[in-house]
């Protein structure tokens, strides 16, 4: 069964976060979510717009909703938390008649429908759920160690974003666990990475990204898994700049959670889009396979030991002087025990 929902890709999906865009679409399709893109959408204005004026920012978002209305779309989802915050602030703000009138004075396109907007992550976690996601996994990511990094805006402020615990969200943790990932507790999961100042305040911004990457590396993570195009670009593309300040020597891949989903679902490599990351996934995937092989060997060894112990116990239970038949039965049980 397919559910149809409005979709706002956000500008970064056309360039810097094209792998997020492609993997999001692929994952949603494979989970039965049919995305209807808003026609001829514009930029929400991101951080720059709301630092200039809240009505201007809301007007840019309001044109997006007006475009949605032209296609009969009311409910919208978006992968980008920064877009989401602006779209939400627009809808929440326009509940106030004066604010709505000021926005309409700029757009001259009043809205007529009741709209809602949520993040793709929230829909996957709350509507689809980890069980359904786990059921879709073809290539489990067992052996992969990752820290979940939600970024500052996905859950904050709680009253605007209305998703999960604002300070210690667990939705992305559960989703990654459903893929088989070993999720490490990450105390900085909602701390700011400084992305919006990466260009104009280069003396300040790398400190914030550095804290996040340093901690992830020291916890032994292979990956920092993200859900925000601004965080991703900051922590991945700018990792070399950040390390030049912090002196770190790690190379941490920073994939979007949707890329890991596409990979785990067994979708084509082009949908997972690992080749688009600045820091490659290959070392992390190799470590994952090594750990999986080690774990399997360990399990085989333990199973063999268990079989030996069981055999000894069975011998004790039987007569003190083993009969020839019992010995023969033990020989048969040997390889079978190894397989268990």
């Amino acid at each position: 069964m397919s559910v149809s929902i409005g979709y706002f890709p956000g500008c970064s999906g056309l360039g810097t976060s094209m792998e997020y865009e492609r993997s999001t679409r692929a994952v949603c399709t494979s989970l039965g979510l049919s995305l209807r893109e808003i026609p001829d959408w514009n930029c929400c204005g991101s951080t720059p717009a709301h630092t200039v004026d809240h009505v201007l920012s809301a007007a840019l978002s309001s044109r997006i909703f007006a475009q949605a209305e032209s296609a009969g779309i009311t409910d919208v989802i978006t992968p980008c938390p920064s877009c989401l915050k602006n779209l939400r602030n627009c809808l929440d703000g326009m509940e106030d008649p004066l604010f709505a009138a000021r926005v309409e004075a700029l757009t001259e396109r009043p809205l007529h429908m009741r709209h809602s907007v949520r993040s793709v992550l929230q829909v996957l976690v709350e509507d689809i759920g980890p069980e359904a996601i786990a059921a879709r996994v073809r290539r489990p990511l067992a052996g992969l160690k990752a820290v979940p990094y939600y970024g500052c805006l996905m859950t904050r402020p709680g009253e605007v974003m209305r998703f999960d615990n604002p300070e210690n969200p667990m939705g992305l943790d559960r989703l990654l666990e459903a893929l088989g990932v070993e999720v490490l507790p990450f105390p900085l999961k909602t701390d700011c990475c400084g992305a919006s100042f990466a260009v104009p305040a280069r003396e300040a911004a790398p400190r914030l990204g550095g804290r996040i990457l340093d901690l992830a590396a020291s916890l032994g993570a292979d990956l920092v898994v993200v859900a925000c195009p601004l965080c991703q670009m900051n922590l991945d593309l700018r990792q070399s700049q950040i390390k030049a300040k912090s002196g770190g020597s790690y190379r941490l891949a920073v994939p979007y959670y949707t890329q890991l989903m596409a990979y785990a679902f067994g979708l084509p490599d082009a949908d997972a889009g690992f080749h688009k990351l600045a820091v490659g996934m290959q070392p992390a995937l190799e470590r994952m396979r090594d750990r999986a092989v080690q774990k399997a060997a360990q399990e085989r060894e333990e199973a063999a030991k268990r079989a030996v112990r069981n055999k000894a116990a069975a011998q004790k239970m039987a007569s003190p002087a083993p009969l020839p038949e019992a010995e023969a039965a033990e020989k048969d049980a040997g390889p079978a025990g190894g397989e268990a």
Partner: protein, 221 residues
């Protein structure tokens, strides 16, 4: 920092911040929780809790010429953690709006970056990274900005050479033009609506933060 003259508070400034942010400033009792959680505090000249105190004391000049209002990353940690549910990040945003209106130079590079971004949106309907960076470099003279990243971005196919034009970009440009012409001015819109919204709260923040009863009560009194 400079001496603060408490005998000359700018009460108009205090009222403006309250109206534009929809927040009640007297709720701040200086617990410092906002500053404790602020990730940019190390780069601020006045930490955010001190900015709050300066606003309460009506120190317009000190607030609007601070570096802090330009370096706030809008990460919303302060808003989330305020025990008195003050939307602190919104107040920082509003101070930044006022600093622009008062033509404060602020932190030039930050202002230029945001302006360059919005100019691209105004022209094309969507930002164009290469154009934004070119404009930023030309205006700030920082010609080396992120040149180290260009090879990776190009080989990964992530840097569009041409802008992504929106068909309705004329409509988006009109939004900016009307904004510059003052079409969204609160007093003007109120007057045009025939005073129907005269007692409505000033912004979205107030309703969200649950203080609308107090404020609209004042308005009716």
């Amino acid at each position: 920092m400079d001496t603060i003259y408490l005998n000359s508070p700018d009460s108009l400034f205090i009222r403006e911040v309250e109206e534009e942010s929809g927040q009640v400033l007297s709720r701040c009792y200086q617990c410092g929780n906002c500053t404790a959680g602020c990730p940019m505090a190390f780069s601020f000249d006045s930490p955010v809790s001190r900015i709050m105190r300066l606003i309460q004391a009506g120190q317009k000049e000190a607030v609007l010429s601070s570096r802090a209002v330009w370096l706030c990353a809008s990460c919303e940690t302060c808003t989330q953690r305020c025990p008195n549910t003050i939307d602190v990040a919104r107040i920082m945003d509003v101070c930044r709006h006022m600093a622009r209106r008062e033509k404060k130079s602020g932190i030039y590079a930050v202002k230029v970056f945001f302006d360059s971004f919005l100019l691209a949106v105004e022209r094309h309907g969507r930002p164009h990274e290469l154009g934004i960076m070119a404009l930023f470099m030309a205006r700030t003279g920082r010609f080396w900005t992120d040149l180290d990243l260009a090879p990776t971005m190009l080989t990964k196919g992530k840097m569009a050479l041409l802008p992504h034009n929106v068909e309705g970009r004329g409509e988006v440009a009109e939004i900016f033009r009307r904004f510059r012409d003052g079409a969204s001015d609160a007093a003007l819109v109120k007057a045009l609506r025939g005073g129907r919204a005269a007692t409505a709260p000033g912004g979205p923040g107030m309703r969200e933060r649950g203080v609308s009863e107090e404020k609209s009560g004042e308005g009716l009194a």
